[in-house]
Symmetry: C2
Subunit: 371 residues, 2 copies
Amino acid sequence: MTKLNSETNFNILTTHKKARTGLLTTNRGNISTPAFMPVGTKASVKGLSSEDLTNEVEAEIILANTYHLNIRPGEDVIKNLGGLHKFMNWPYPILTDSGGFQVFSLSKLNKITDDGVKFRSHLDGDECFFSPEKSMEIQMDLGADIIMAFDVCPPYPCSDKEMKKAMQLTHDWLKRCKKTMTSKNSQLFGIIQGGLDEKLRLESIEKVCAEDLPGYALGGFSVGEPMDLMYKVLDKIACHMPDNKPRYLMGVGSPKDLIESIDKGIDMFDCVYPSRNARNATLFTQKGKINIKRAEFKQDIKPIDSSCDCLTCANYTRAYLRHLYSQKEPLFVRLATIHNLRFYSNLMKKSRTAIEEGDWDKFKQECLEFF
Amino acid sequence: MTKLNSETNFNILTTHKKARTGLLTTNRGNISTPAFMPVGTKASVKGLSSEDLTNEVEAEIILANTYHLNIRPGEDVIKNLGGLHKFMNWPYPILTDSGGFQVFSLSKLNKITDDGVKFRSHLDGDECFFSPEKSMEIQMDLGADIIMAFDVCPPYPCSDKEMKKAMQLTHDWLKRCKKTMTSKNSQLFGIIQGGLDEKLRLESIEKVCAEDLPGYALGGFSVGEPMDLMYKVLDKIACHMPDNKPRYLMGVGSPKDLIESIDKGIDMFDCVYPSRNARNATLFTQKGKINIKRAEFKQDIKPIDSSCDCLTCANYTRAYLRHLYSQKEPLFVRLATIHNLRFYSNLMKKSRTAIEEGDWDKFKQECLEFF
């Protein structure tokens, strides 16, 4: 394995206005951007094996959650077993979030100090403490290829004072993360906060990007605000993030969110949206979402989407999927998730092609007609 | 497709004492016996796709349930959609049970008359009626390759009078089944009753086999009786079933049950035992069962069974499987079921080899050491 160089881990291949395609390099494989990362919260993308992720979803990178893996089975266990890649038999890149978002959204009684965050586990109420140092150590123990900085993710809405405080702590903690993150095989991405305030966001971009890291993420979006507001802010700020570094919009989103964000210059996404929707019977097609529960599909011998090339669409009908869902058959989760995640992979692939071929505006408009 | 001939649908290949290997022929493929049929109650072997059944389990035939499919989605729906094979995308043989067992064990308020059985669906309490004719019609609508006669399956224990009445009705109904089952592409198997009474069983064998059908099943075993009693009765009666027809022991069983029954001359089995055990964390190895929940497996990097050639053992550790189970990750069901059903496939394959090579007694003894 060669040592990573933050100057060359990302190359822009083509641009069309603000939209761009690129190639992100890691020691475990390359990622074509724009890219969507399926979420494997507890070291498993719900219902899918690692073979499914490679062969059926064609994922090049997945995300796992520091907060959850710290609680169960513990990063010590995973480290002893040879790291997260070996644990889940996934040899390709893994990005771990820092636990910041979960500490604020899932845990109980979180108390923030300059040092870190005290909280109680959502699982058993055990008292825990995460600091920038602790988060880096866990992520290094897991063996992540991309390690996220430990940030403060304020709720929406929040006061100006609260937002500024969160931003300041995020910036201070980033320096501590950078100092602690000593793994030569991992890349540290900084997280930009600032909510919907363009001025704060630009200030955060300046502070975070001054650290000269291999990538930068926008945190604190998609936390309850109207998405049109997010698009508006993204349009103003994403282009101020360094051109030569990947731009990752955390926790986003719907097909529409992805298209709108690529349009504004975003390169990477993660979200439970496609997999959670799959489990709840909402499936994506070229012409929008369908709810497979509906009676109209009872005798429908068509695949979910006749233009889709996934295993599910190649082999199973809407009628069978509806039957599996309504009978609570466990096969449903796998077949539905394979389809929705392949839909997302294909959406990214088509976006890259459209940008490369100068067809982005037309492609974007066609997509937004149905989403 | 060629017309089936009840004289040639089954060929014995080798015998060793009472044990035997054979080849059962259907229009949708051949089945090497002894064979185990995974149970796809509601048109799905829980957690597995049809590709999994072919590629990972190497199943040559599966079983589906007339009672469940009649209730949801209804045989009319499945017929309209092109039959059960097309519905679940399984092109190989399917055996459907007749609904007899479920009508007696699952439904509420069943009332038996000479005509048939009135009962209320376990799902919504709807009043239903199954007769020999109705059962044949449903199974033909489903398009099963092997259709089971509609029988009366008495509970254990039951009075001599009740048993004789059940047997008599089963024999009477078989004639009506035979008359109604007009599909040229399906084979009707008769069901022998008589409980643990050897004399009644022999009488039932005589009556049922007088109908000259392509196969015969033993019903009414594994309904709560001590298994040693079943082995004892099997040893006395199985050899009195026609040599040149497949002998199917319904709803059996554990690895030990299978080995003991093959030893007595049985050719076919079905049971939820391996798949249900998988879902409940009990996994089979060459050296007996393990409960993957146990703390001892938390850091165990070995596969479930290092001699197993299944997808799960090739790719995942006990530690990861334990994590998936304890975190209720849906991937667990698929990986565990693939392993247990492959274990059963391999047990049948090894049994056939042992019989062919004259090693049966040794093989049997080795198996029974751990089960």
